[in-house]
Symmetry: C2
Subunit: 532 residues, 2 copies
């Protein structure tokens, strides 16, 4: 097996540029492995790759800088030997595009400049709190008391702040977003001459020693981005910090994460700026095993498709619209794909069609031609690509101390969540899907949650129960959004509602401890036994 | 000659979509003309074209919406029969990409939502002025007294304001940018309950009845964008308003503008948001005749190349960097091109090289291989592509009442400016080129300014004379940036300096009236005769 060693290409003093040469050599020489010496590689964005990308759930289409680009390649293993890859600012560590059977292993991903600001609570006064900014100060601009991050001359407003307990590192008990004031627009930021930052109009003074992390509204990049790939494997990959999500994969098939972790370092209470992992319109099997997710500023895992709205029907043609700005420009429908058509309020499919032709008019509008008559299809309803169906194995993982939820499950294939530990301030597992705002699809067919520990989940305000099905706006008698949810052998502790299931044909809740009385609504058949 | 009529394609009620079908028919059927009935066509951006574009001097790379896209086409005439093409917001009216022999005629371009705000001065108080916002109010957001335009959730700061005299429509005499306060960051904007907008901390209260136009910092689109085309002709084209420049052409050869105008309408004192016309790295002949330019919020015409900086030399390889953000991502160098290498302070070339290979590393860095030894080439110096050399005929045109200058001339080919009328608040003709900030190149070879009228030019603060050469930071004895500037038969009036030439091998100033005593420095030979 031909192996190429990066050390043989470190010639110019610019690792970004030398990486380009090394990857070209892999391609030219048909090498199957690219091996790096254990080291810290600092990637200067000046000479790194660039591609125009539409990254789902990041919402910023256009040119993106990329440290390591794997594009149209096959059968390659990148072994960083435990190295740290440091990027600064708006740059992706890795992009895997339209490639097959690629493995990335033994690498630590770090980005100290991700548009986040972390501050330690030093003291509190009457309606104000004084903070020591420990991270991200150079990315902060205050104009007339309002905090912004700045990108290419545009001001990016504050999205929210979250609060970490200074001792435990957990999300401060009972808090969620905007811990200083539920109306963050009222806050007034001031840099004091002693170097501290004072925030005025604080409604709830945070405990001294706690850490506040301020997030701004835009996700201009991601840690690892994957599109159109088959057979990706990530082994021993640690994200200490990155712009946007840790790993976002769209339109990929078969992905394995083995010991992929978000892990705090450098005094940061946060890791990825957004979700740790996120899978959109994927198919095949997604395996996530032996992973640990902490400190990410959104969910640990989210898996879903994308609903589009039928804006017009004309003969056998449909005009479909990407309804959420973060889904724009992604080529989610191909010739031959099978679409399910459903009502936005119930998300229940009422017919299926096959795509015989597709044209992307622009980032928003997809024009398709159907094989079938569209007599029954109504404009105003939603469409979902059911040819992209992924199953998920989530086993032996730990999720803790992050903003928002643990997992958002909207995978149409078989889902197994086994031997995991959750300690999340929001819901640990949320069955989410939404046809009217986020447009993240869809319903599940078979979900098994087995032998997991849920420790004090949902002590904050994100969600309503440790395991929860988000309700639909409307239901139909004897029709269900989910087919089967099985929860067995799990252990729950904490004061919140533990299980709240809705809109499933079958629910099995057996042999669990501490799950209290499950809240159940619109369930076809329930088997609830031997819980205590 | 096969003609296609747009009326035959107006079927769906969506002109953007029907245009797509009509243009496809032109291509499929080899039609030479696409003719529109005289009408007002409102283009809904929902279904219009989209391309990822890097538009010079606009600085916003990525996806752009386009109402009419001519791409890889040949020998086509678009005749709008006097129609008005209305677009709203961030959308280009026309993009001509990699096409040959295309004519656009008889069209009026209008965009009522270009991120500009116009307001009429209603009254003045002690340090404040009250304004009636007449245009663009829906694009304005005021946060804590600061005005912004908003794009995809980002706040776009105020760039400047200009002031038009309410009676004459000219730029208010003696003013330039920021007429209310030279430090616009001190201004405080407030929407009063009576619907007026009050601006506090005004240092100079504007005359009642004058109009203020507020511009924001970013140019997210353009009226007409051309790239990589040969043989474009624009005849009877009127821009009443557009986002960004009226017409921006880059890397094109042979362009004719005949009766291309920027013209006010709808109560707007401004027309294009930026330059009326702009030519970058073009070649062949640019002809601009019988045109009228008024109200544009930057120069009437700017023609130049782009200097890149040599950031590294390695054997026969050079790494060139795009130095200005508005030049990023434009493919200005091709195989076989001839580059001139010059010192940034003098902009005097000291050697030439031929490009045998070129790779675009990303939007910033271009890696080239030279045919020749690079022994004499120094990193830190600038490079200019001299294979892109355009001549310019600017004849029978009127330029008046716009922000900034009339013409910025940095064309390396022959330049003839004849029978024109200029009444500009800044310099009418500025020989600009800059190797240290804008990086707009280059020196001229032969310029003739003949039988033109300069009426009260440069009464404001943009530039130093009606006709002016911007000085270089350094000069060398007996070496010159310009080769020959001839000014004959022109008539000047106004109190400003009329002619200020610098750094030209030869200057001829003959048979002019009212030009006072020209200011001349570092000129090889001067012929100044028969002026009064």
């Amino acid at each position: 097996m031909k192996t190429i060693y990066f050390r043989d290409f470190r010639k110019t003093g610019d690792d970004a540029y030398d990486l380009r040469a090394a990857l070209e050599a892999c391609r030219d020489e048909g090498a199957k492995r690219l091996v790096f010496d254990r080291n810290t590689y600092e990637i200067n964005s000046d000479r790194c790759f660039e591609r125009s990308l539409n990254v789902s759930n990041h919402g910023w289409n256009g040119p993106h800088r990329i440290a390591v680009l794997i594009e149209n390649m096959k059968d390659l293993e990148l072994d960083f030997s435990g190295s740290t890859l440091v990027c600064r600012g708006e740059i992706m560590h890795f992009a895997f595009l339209f490639s097959e059977r690629i493995t990335l292993k033994n690498v630590i991903i770090e980005n100290p400049q991700t548009g986040c600001v972390q501050a330690r609570v030093v003291s509190n006064g009457d309606g104000f709190t004084d903070l020591e900014v420990t991270h991200g100060k150079e990315q902060l601009q205050i104009r007339r008391g309002m905090p912004f991050s700045v990108r290419q001359g545009c001001l990016i407003p504050l999205l929210t702040n979250v609060e970490f307990n200074g001792e435990s590192g957990a999300i401060e008990r009972g808090t969620a977003d905007n811990t200083l004031n539920p109306s963050p627009g009222e806050l007034d930021f001031e840099m004091l001459s002693n170097g501290l930052m004072r925030v005025h109009h604080v409604k709830r003074c945070p405990p001294i020693g706690n850490y506040l992390v301020f997030l701004f509204t835009h996700r201009f990049s991601a840690g690892i981005f994957c599109e159109g790939c088959t057979g990706l494997c990530f082994k021993n990959v640690t994200v200490t910090s990155c712009y946007g999500m840790g790993l976002i994969a769209q339109l990929c098939k078969d992905i394995t994460l083995d010991n992929f972790s978000t892990k705090r370092s450098g005094g940061r209470m946060y890791t990825a700026n957004a979700d740790a992992t996120h899978f959109v319109e994927c198919s095949g099997e997604i395996r996530v095993e032996n992973c640990s997710f902490e400190g990410q500023l959104d969910d640990a895992l989210n898996i879903h498709g994308i609903y589009t709205r039928i804006v017009e029907k004309s003969g056998r043609e449909l005009f479909l619209k990407e309804m959420h700005k973060d889904a724009r420009g992604i080529r989610i429908i191909g010739k031959g794909d099978r679409l399910s058509i459903l009502k936005p309020d119930t998300l229940l499919p009422y017919t299926e069609i096959t795509v015989s032709d597709v044209e992307y008019i622009n980032s928003d509008i997809i024009q398709i031609v159907a094989n079938e008559s569209l007599e029954n299809v109504c404009a105003g309803d939603d469409a979902e690509n059911i040819s992209h169906t992924a199953s998920l194995v989530f086993r032996g993982n730990t999720v803790r101390d992050n903003r928002a939820r643990g997992m958002l499950i909207a995978a149409k294939g078989k889902v197994l969540i086994e031997d995991c530990f959750f300690s999340t301030s929001g819901s640990a597992i949320l069955f989410e899907a939404n046809g009217e705002y986020w447009f993240e699809s869809g319903g599940t067919s078979s979900v098994e949650i087995k032998n997991c520990i849920f420790k004090d989940c949902r002590h904050g305000l994100w969600g309503n129960a440790a395991i929860e099905c988000a309700p639909r706006k409307a239901v139909e008698p004897e029709k269900y959004f989910h087919r089967e949810i099985v929860i067995t052998g799990c252990s729950f502790c904490g004061s919140a509602t533990q299980i709240s299931l809705d809109n499933s044909q079958r629910a099995v809740i057996k042999n669990n401890t501490g799950c209290k009385t499950p809240v159940l609504s619109h369930i076809g058949s329930v088997e609830a036994d031997n819980n205590d």
